[in-house]
Structure formats: structure tokens, C-alpha cells
Amino acid sequence: MRPAFAATAWRVAQEEWRALRRSKVALAAALLLLVLTLAAIGVGLERAHSVEAQRARLQQQADEQWNRQPDRHPHRVVHYGHYVFRPLTALAFFDFGVAPFTGSTLYLEGHRQNSANFSDAGQSSLLLRFGQLTPAFVLQVLAPLLLLFLAFGSLARERERGQLRLLLAHGVSGGALMAGKLAAHGILVLMLAAPALAALAAIAGADPLLAAPAGWLALGYAAYLLLWSFAAVLLSALVRQARDALLFLVGAWALMAVLLPRMLPDAAAELVPRPTRIEMEAAVHAELLRIGDSHNPDDPYFSSFRDSVLKRYGVSRIEDLPVNYKGLVIEEGERLTSELFLSSMQRDFARQAAQGSLLDTAALAVPLLALRSMSAALADTDRGAHERFLLAGEDYRYRLIQSLNRLHAEKVKYHDDRAQRISADYWRALPRYQHPPAPLERTVAQRVWPALAIFAGWLAAALLAAAWTAHRLERKA
């Protein structure tokens, strides 16, 4: 870049800032955005904190109940079950993602796979559907609208007033003018986003593990906002009147930030239909009947299971087994049902993923969709995070129940099975639920890079268009 070009562009940018400082509309928009961001950070932090405190309290309560059980028959403990509650990462304050729409309470018991219950959405009035005051909502939806007000007049107003022609006559090239305006609004929007990004930096500073996701988040939001401000400057250069630019831009905002992000998910739901919970459970139940009935002594599957057990231990009667046969049957039944639960769950995850991939495709045209998916994934509040919770919960449930069934087989005698109890120390010693950490590498590969690539593509297109528009400016001031 020639030094003269850069110097001119810089002067243009400074002039633009001076003009914006004098504009009441611009000042009001900037101030509003600042207040909203600060309020959203406050509300988000407070809420994430209270959700986490409540989760910790409930989990402690559930663990205490588990430990306080008296000596029992292990199968009673299987039915007593255990509760796990989904924790949130510290970045959830920034973007609640889909977390309010997913249950965070999972009841784990034998023979059954329960749904995650008590979601915020199910317990809220319709207000929740207005959106949630998080920094993510402010930056995704509100900030673009406000920054349009800063940028819509950047070139159109100068053209209206005849200053554009004057500038060009004084030897300012169209390129330098365009570059200066883009730089002015690009830097401005980054400054406006700074409070939210600073909050991210503060969280990352407190927990080094969050530094990487916080950094990716900052990068993604910066690119997204730059895109909006470039689009606004570009359009301002293309139309004849400032008010036309404003109407176009607000229309584009209504379409890209409000209408399509709602319409497309509905379309995805229509294109990939999913059964209700009752239908999925009925399908599992039917498969189960096909395999066998552990309560029926003449059931072919379980009689061959009995024969193989007898053969393994080299005895001819189940009473002679060194282990409790009832425990073994329940253990085998649990293995079969859990396999079916898991495959039913995986099939449904696949359907949801198919719906999600339709949205991923649409994100090429609607950058907000790309940002939304990337942001929630990094904050660990997306559909993937919920699936991880359900899978980890199911895995934990299976291990817990099978450990208890093992105790049933080994510590309870076959004779007079039901009347026996074993020491509570046995299940107190079983491991507690450990929530698996967020898979950052996978998130970056599957959610972050595609979103950044989409932003980069749009930004490159915007810059190309800017170069073309710069020439056009010189011809049609």
C-alpha cells in the first residue's frame, strides 16, 4: 500500500469519527449498545451463577440421599436410582444457547431410560420466547441493528450533500475514501463490542482452560460484526439517498437476524420429521418383546441363557450355582434393554443431526446461523453439549445399575433372595457421576472453522465489492 493512500484513508477515517461524534443518533446508538451489553453481562453472570449454585445444591442433596440409604437389597437400590444434574461451564453466561430448552435433571434407574426433565422453557411463561438477555443475544441481534445506524450515512449522506464530489475533486481517490470509511466503521464496531469481549477475556483470565474457547468466541463475534458494518458502508456507497440505505439495511437485518433464523428451523423440522417420545418408547418396547421376556421361565432366549450359565459353571441346577442366578438374569436383561435404549437414542440423535445439518447448509447464506451454532458450541450450551450429558448419563446409569446387579449376583443368596439385605457400604463406594469435559478440538473442527470460513467468504466478497464500488464512486459521485 502506498503511504499516501494509507495516510489519506486514515484522514478519511478520522473525519468520519469526528462526524459521528457530532451525530446525536450515532451517540445514542453507541450508548444504548453499551448499556445493553453491560446489562446482559450482569444478567448473564448472575443467572449462570444461580443456575450453577442450584445444580450444586441439588446434586449434593441427591448424593446425600444416595449415601443415607439403609442396608438394602441391591435390587431396591436399582429401583431407588440416582439423580444427576447437568453442570454448566463458566462461559455459559455469555451464551445460554439451547440450555434453557433442555432438561437438566436426569433420573437414572434400572430397566428404564428417563427423559431429562425440568427445562427452563417448560417452567417459564411465554416471556422466554422473546429471547434471553445474554451478551450473545445483544451481539448477534441487537448490535447489528444499532451499528447500521452508525454506518448507513457514511457515504450516502456525503453524496447527498455534494461533499463526495468535492472530496474526489480534491484528489482523494475512491479507493482511499472507501478504505477510510471501512476502517472507521470496522474499528468502531470492534470498540463497541469491546465490553463484551473484555468480559470474555476476564473469564478466560480466571480459568486458563477457557482461554481457547473465549478467544475463538471473540474472533467469531468480531468477524460477524465487521461483516455487518462493511455491508452497511457498502450499501451506503451504492444508493443515492441515505434514507434508502437505511431502509435497505433495516430490511436486511429483519430478514437475516429475525425472520430467517426462525423460519429455517421450522423448515428443517418439516423436512426431517421426528417421532414423539411415546412412539420411540413403543418402538423400543416392541423390539424388547421380540428378544425375550426374562420373567417367563419358558422364554427361548432366557432358557438358552440359563443353559450357557449352567455350562460355564459346570453344574446342572441353578440352585447349585456359586452365584445368584436372579442377579445374572437381571444383569443380562439390563444389558439387552440398555443396548436398545442406546440405539434408539442414537437414531434420534441422527435425526436431530440431519435437521442440524440443514441449518448448517443454510448458514452459508445466513451468517447468524453459523455464529449461533459456533457460539453455543464454544459456550458448551449447544445440542451437542446436551447429547454429551445424555450419553454420559446413560453410560453412568448402565455402570451403576450393573454394579448393583453384580452385587445382587455375588452378595445375595439365591435362596430367599428378596428377604436379604446387604451393607450400604457397597453402593456408597461406587463412583459418582463425572461430567465429561467439553471436546474443544472437535468443536473447533466441526463448528468454529466452518463458521469462520463462512465469515471469511462473506468478508472477502464484501472487500471485492468495496474495491469495485470504489471505482464506481469516482465515476458516479
Binding site: S50, Y107, F118, G122, Q123, Q132, F152, L246, L359
Partner: protein, 451 residues
Amino acid sequence: MKSWKFELLLLLRSRPAFVALAVLALLAALAVWNGMRAVQSQRHALERIAAIQAADLGDRASRQAANGDAGLTAYYTPHLTFDPPAPLAFAAIGQRDVLPFALQVRALGLQAQLYESEALNPELAAPGHFDFAFVLVYLGPLFIIALMHDLVSGEREAGRLRLLSSLPGKRAGLWRRRVLLRLALVAAVLLLPLLAGALLSGAALGQTAMMAGATVLYIAFWCGVAAWGAAVARSAAAGAALLLAAFMLLTLVLPTAVNAALERAIPVAQGAELALAQRQAVHTAWDKPREATMQSFFRTHPEWKDTGPLPDGFHWKWYYAMQQAGDDAVAGQAALYRSALWSREKWTRNAGFLLAGVNLQVLLHRLAGTDMEARLAYLDRVSAFHERLRRHFYPYVFKEKPFGEADFARLPVYSASTADGMPPWQMGAMLAALAAAALLLGLRRAARVSG
């Protein structure tokens, strides 16, 4: 009359205004269609579920031994409850996507079954739905702003304002005509698809009229606000900025802030606590003297007192008494949880006294039967059905009557509510007051405009 016709021609000849109205009509029609499609797919799901239920029951009946064990049958047999969409549900899908509209219950403890959630894709639910309520609440104001932000400044910038305001006595009439004309046109393009949808869905006339009325009031509110903004602003851009800031505050920021405050002020952790407490109550019964459980059951069900003492081993009557004792033990907590949910709804309505958008959402979803009130009413019906169900089984269990194949035909059957949602009249009155105030303010401010 002539001046009205003239204004109409003037408005429709302006290409942006015509395009805006056409686009709004198209979006409203699409939203109504999409809502009807969503409701239709819920109806289809209910049909499939009913078929599954019938097949399951038939299968169980055919496998039942003549002297079948009633306790075992009650333990395993699920019974269907369902909440079909109201005729106007298409206009405001509301909470029907996140909450199950069908729930199977067994004669076991109710509190462990009542809060089952639907297997939803949260990614699709979180953005909200594209229904009539969305078009009206969010897009309606945006289109009104687009139509009206330069109402005054457009004339000023064209140099006609001085002329217009010099016509004595006609000034107020001119702005009134222009504002009301825009109000009528926006209302018309939104109401036509709504009424068509209501007609096709077979909605009641009264409910439809109330929904249409609320729609017009909300549009009037925004037309008033827009007239005020247009009159205050010196330039078209300033008018747009002012009105969009008002839009952002009234429909995006304040409702979400109120929701954040409500979640803070009225926590509903009782839901999960209730689940923990219910489990504890049911399962500790296994470690208590069984006679104590029977006695606590007899306190609420004295009619079964004299059915003889418990035998030595397991008996189903103890098992069902224990299930009910568990529900009884947490009845207080369940009531607290319900009232916390209800007070969230109540405070939302209070917020609606000041925020027109919230008010409208409450009214629409009440009329559509898709709000918290409808949800709680469904849960109450499920509870009532569950009571019928367990009381139906008690005679079999306590008198040790066998449960044969024919007994399946005598099982209680759930019947869904057909009651229409009635909106609280105070909400409607308040929306009317807000609309009247905004319109009055806007028109009076416009009348004072000078060149």
C-alpha cells in the same frame, strides 16, 4: 370520503409502501400456513399415539389370563392422556413444542410421571416458531415503522410541509387520515390470513373475534407510537432511529429483562426437589413397618380400612398404598411448585399491563390455548384421570378380584378438554388503553407539527 380515497391512492402509488404491505401480507399468510401445518403434524402425532395405545392395550388384553393379577396389570399397563391443539393454536404455537401434548400414566405414584418431557430438538425450539404471533409481535411494528417513520419528515424534505400546515383547521385531519389509513391497511393484510386460518381450522366466532380485536389494538398501539416518532423527528433517519430504538426496547429488551427478573425472583427448583422428595417418600416405605404405610393411606382412603390385615409376604395393596402415600407426602411441595409456575404466569401478565407486546402474547396464547394456564389445566386433567384410574384398580387389588381380558374394556378412558381459552378481560382492557393512549398521543403530537 373523497380525501380518504385520495390518500389511499397516494399511499398505494408509492412503490415502497405497496411492496411493504404486499410483503407483510405474504409473511402473514406464510406464518398462518406454517402454524396450521405444525398443528396438523401435532394432530397426526396424536393419531399415531392413539393407535399405538389401542394396539398395546389390545395386545395386553389378548395375553391376559382369565384370573389375571390386577396388581401386576395395573403396574405394567400405561394409559393415555392427551391434549389436542385448540382450533386457534395455529396462530400461536407457544409452549406446545417444548411440552408433551400426550402423556402416558400408570396407576403408580403420579408425581414421578407428571413432569416427563418431550424429546424435542432444542436447536429448533430455541429460536422460536414462525407463526402468526411472531409476525404480528415482531414484524408488524417493523413494517409500521417502515411505513410511517417519514410521515412528516418526508413532506418536509419534499418541501410540502409548509403548504400542508398552512391549510387552516385541516392539519389535524390530514395526519389523522394518514395514520388511520395505514393502521387499516396493516390490519387488513394481517387479519385476512388470520381469519382465513381461523375459518379453515373451525375456530369459534367469539375467540376469533377476540384474537382479531387484540391484533387491531396492537397495530393501533404501534401506529400511535410511530405517528409520535414521525412527528418528533426532524429527519427521516432520526425518525427511523427513534422508532427502532423504541421497538428494540419494547419488544426485545424489556421482555427479556422482565423474564430474567422473574426467573430470579420466582425460582422453580421445587420441580427437581419435588422429584427427589417423592422418590424418598416412596422408597423409604420399603424400610418402614408396612402397617404404618397402610395407616397413612387409610387416613385419606378410609373406605379400604376394613379389607383385612396384610399377609406375611408381599401384597399389592401395600404396594399401591405406598405409591399413594408417596404422592400424599409431597402434596404440599407439589402445590408449591404449581403455584410458583402460576405466579410466573401471573407476573408475566402484570408486565403485560405496561408492555403491549407482552400483553398481546399473553392474549394470543391464551386464546390459542398454548400458554402456561393451558399447560397447568392439562396437568390437572391428567391428575384427575390418574385418580380415577387408581380408584378403578383399588377394588381389584384390595378385594383380590382377578383382572381378566374383559376387564380391559372397563378401564377408564381419558377425555380431552374442549374448553376454549378465555382471556382475562383486564389484559384486553389494558391493551385497549395502551393503544388508545399511544394513538391519541401520536395524533396530537402530529397535529402540532409545523413547517
